[in-house]
């Protein structure tokens, strides 16, 4: 707290110092403007001088105080001082006059930075950076070069003090350089204008709303600048009017910045409203409240569902978060390092992270509550899905058994009964013909018995009930379609449904290994320890198995999860398949 206080105090002192310096410079510049004695280079009158300079410095101080990390504050303060510095061209002392003349256009470079970087305070693109550094080059290097060859009298201004930088007089070159500086300035202004227009066209409604005042002021300034420079190039057919318009436009810029800042303060006031709203009634719609607080009606909420390792909406349905390139932005809300929710909103809100963060903080508890509910719904939906799948698979199983019985065993029995009927009719008259008929019937009976055995084994293998899982697995591995090595560490009988689930898991996995994975061998392991039965089947096949590929993996997972267990599938392409189930068996 003490350290923070100290820091706060230092910031305050720094800003106060800058403010005092700004007042003093303003007074000095105004005095110079009021006491002009020669044809002025800087033509702003005292009111314009103070209006522009102080509003930049004042607004810069406010901006810096509000957003210490944003460069806009310092840039505006710099612009204020740079503006006052242009009035040094009114000074009679050659040193002051020369310095003032050298930096007289620098404030325009600051202006370029302000307009191009608003509202983030950073020059985001190559084009923006290129324009800014071009502006710096034009306002410093070209200006300085011109002054090396410019004589005060004929080139800079008549009656003004000596140009101390002059090393050799060349009126033609100096005039050409100054003209080039003006033309380059006009070109840069137009380029920045085009850039802003295209940015405006691409911006979302919320982005436009957020920066509108500054953009309008910036356009007005750039247009006025272009007109004013054009006026200078054309030997001032409109006199001083375009310059005055430019000054007025420039003066609106910091006001616009302050307007945007105020807007944000208002938005942050909405956070307080949010706290009250959410605290007041638990039934208030969280999304609506957040949308109001953030001023973005398009806000969407997604909650973290740990069980499914994905985001879901309030009803538990899966939500796809927009990617980085999407025209939506996402803010993650965490609590104690754990994800809670994701706020999907207009990208314009990226410019105001403080607001988003404070809104998220204010809604933290409600978000956590809503997350729990969404998780509950997602779990319920998963449960319902799995129940429906299990019902469907039981239904399919019944159909299969009926089909097997109808097409297999019943058919064979009917044919046996036919043979017997035939036998009955042949016996008295033609005993010779009876023997082959009886043989056919016996074979059919054998086949029918085989089929019945296989069918009943498929429904529930008898050995599982009689001898338990180890013996049943041994038998299963013994008659698998591929060599299967078995390791069992189970020293007692387990609950019947656990044994059955484990048995069919191994059976299904071995079938998959032989049928789908083209494996040459498999390893089966089953061990029971600490109330947990772990069953693992690994093969050396082609891998790449996924639930829903007709391999019965989904059904395996459902059966295991229905018993409160965990099902893990690991099947990288070309590296075999391993399924692992952990079943509580206390």
């Amino acid at each position: 707290m003490g350290a923070a206080g100290d820091h706060d105090g230092r910031v305050r002192a720094k800003l106060a110092l800058l403010g005092a310096a700004g007042l003093a410079s303003g007074a000095g510049a105004a005095w110079l403007a009021a006491n002009r004695s020669f044809v002025p280079y800087q033509t702003a009158t005292v009111p314009f001088c103070l209006l522009v300079g102080w509003s930049f410095i004042g607004c810069g101080l406010i901006a810096w105080r509000q957003q210490p990390r944003n460069r806009l504050g310092p840039v505006m303060i710099f612009m204020g001082f740079a503006w006052f510095a242009t009035f040094l061209t009114d000074a009679r002392a050659p040193l002051l006059f020369t310095g003032g003349t050298a930096v007289q256009s620098l404030y325009l470079a600051g202006l370029a930075y302000l307009v191009l970087s608003f509202p983030s305070g950073r020059l985001s693109g190559r084009l923006e950076r290129g324009l800014f550094w071009s502006a710096i080059a034009v306002t410093t290097v070209v200006q300085f070069a011109a002054m090396l060859v410019a004589d005060s009298g004929p080139v800079l201004c008549s009656g003004c003090p000596a140009n101390l930088l002059e090393v050799g007089r060349n009126d033609g070159l100096a005039g050409w350089l100054l003209q080039a500086e003006r033309i380059a300035g006009a070109v840069l202004a137009v380029a920045a204008l085009v850039l802003l227009v295209s940015r405006w066209q691409r911006a979302s409604a919320a982005q436009r709303r957020a920066v509108a005042p500054v953009l309008w002021a910036g356009w007005a300034t750039l247009i006025a600048l272009a007109v004013s420079v054009a006026n200078d190039i054309a030997a001032q057919p409109f006199g001083q009017i375009p310059k005055r318009v430019l000054f007025a436009a420039v003066a609106t810029l910091p006001v616009a910045v302050v307007a945007v800042l105020l807007q944000r303060r208002l938005a942050r006031g909405a956070v307080a409203g949010l706290v009250v709203e959410l605290g007041g009634e638990a039934t208030a719609d969280l999304r609506e409240a957040l949308a109001r607080a953030l001023g973005d009606p398009s806000v969407e909420l997604a909650y973290w569902f740990g069980g499914g390792q994905r985001y879901v909406d309030g009803d538990g349905r899966p939500v796809q978060l927009p990617g980085l390139a999407a025209n939506r932005a996402t803010t993650m809300v965490e609590s104690g390092g754990r994800p809670v929710a994701a706020l999907i909103h207009d990208p314009a809100l990226r410019e105001n992270p403080e607001l988003v963060n404070s809104v998220c903080a204010a809604a933290g508890l409600r978000l956590e509550n809503e997350r729990l509910q969404a998780e509950l719904r997602a779990r319920l939906a998963e449960l319902q899905d799995s129940r429906a799948r299990m019902a469907a698979s039981a239904e399919a199983e019944r159909r299969r058994i009926e089909r097997d019985l109808h097409d297999g065993t019943q058919q064979r029995l009917v044919s046996i009964s036919m043979s017997l009927g035939l036998l009955e009719s042949k016996l008295p008259a033609d005993p010779e013909a009876a023997a082959p008929i009886a043989r056919t019937a016996r074979h059919a009976l054998g086949a029918a018995l085989d089929e019945l055995r296989e069918l009943s084994q498929g429904i529930l293998p008898g050995i599982l009930a009689e001898r338990g899982l180890p013996a049943a697995l041994e038998e299963l591995c013994g008659r698998a379609a591929l060599p299967a090595r078995l390791e069992v560490a189970i020293d007692r009988r387990l609950p019947a449904q656990v044994e059955t689930a484990a048995y069919f898991l191994v059976s299904e996995a071995l079938t998959n290994a032989a049928k789908h994975a083209q494996a040459s061998q498999a390893r089966v392991a089953a061990r029971c320890a600490d109330g947990l039965l772990t069953v693992k089947v690994a093969d050396d096949g082609v891998g790449g198995a996924a639930p829903g590929s007709g391999s019965g993996l989904r059904g395996m997972a459902d059966r295991v999860e229905a018993l409160g267990g965990k099902f893990i599938l690991c099947s990288p392409d070309g590296q075999g398949t391993a399924v692992r189930a952990e079943l509580p068996c206390a």
């Binding site: 089909r403 109808h406 019943q410 058919q411 064979r412 009917v414 009927g421 009955e424």
Partner: protein, 216 residues
Amino acid sequence: MRVVVADDAVILREGLALLLQAAGFEVAGLAADAEELYPLVEQCRPDVVVVDIRMPPTHTDEGLRAARTIRLRWPGTGVLVLSQYVRPAYALELLSEGAGGVGYLLKERVSDLRELTSGIERIAAGGSVLDPKVVEQLVGRPRHGADRLGRLTGRERGVLALMAEGRSNKAIAERLFVTEHTIEKHVKNILAALSLPPSPDDHRRVLAVVTFLNSQ
């Protein structure tokens, strides 16, 4: 007598053909499904078609539908539908289609050559044949409210079941070792007790009895 057999299982188709031949029928053709069956019927003009109820493509009630088609296109041809299941609803559907010449038997019934022969002959003669298991289920099903079957004596119930199987008074009399006259009296009593109209037509009698049993 000419017979055509349709069953998608080779083992049953061939077995059935052998049996029918042993029973003295002329097996004029074999078909694996309904699509094969129709041209065969058109070509051979059999007296009776023996058809499995479950055939491709859906393995549900193709045989039943084939029976309907055959009765419609070749009205003189009788149809015996074989099934592995006792389904009174299917049997009733079959009986109500037309004016006799149809039968519904369980597959296992075919091993009794005498019964099979008599059934096919009755069908060929325009009568109706219903499997005893189906009738048993119809007669024995639990009933709500006033059970008019309760008014029948045990003997009369037996006669009712045989009537439902599609047997004539004469056949019933033979089976129960009584005179046809006795059976005629039983039949009169039964029809009166159940408020069914007397009918000289065998098929109508079966239909009336079965419909009554099914509706109660």
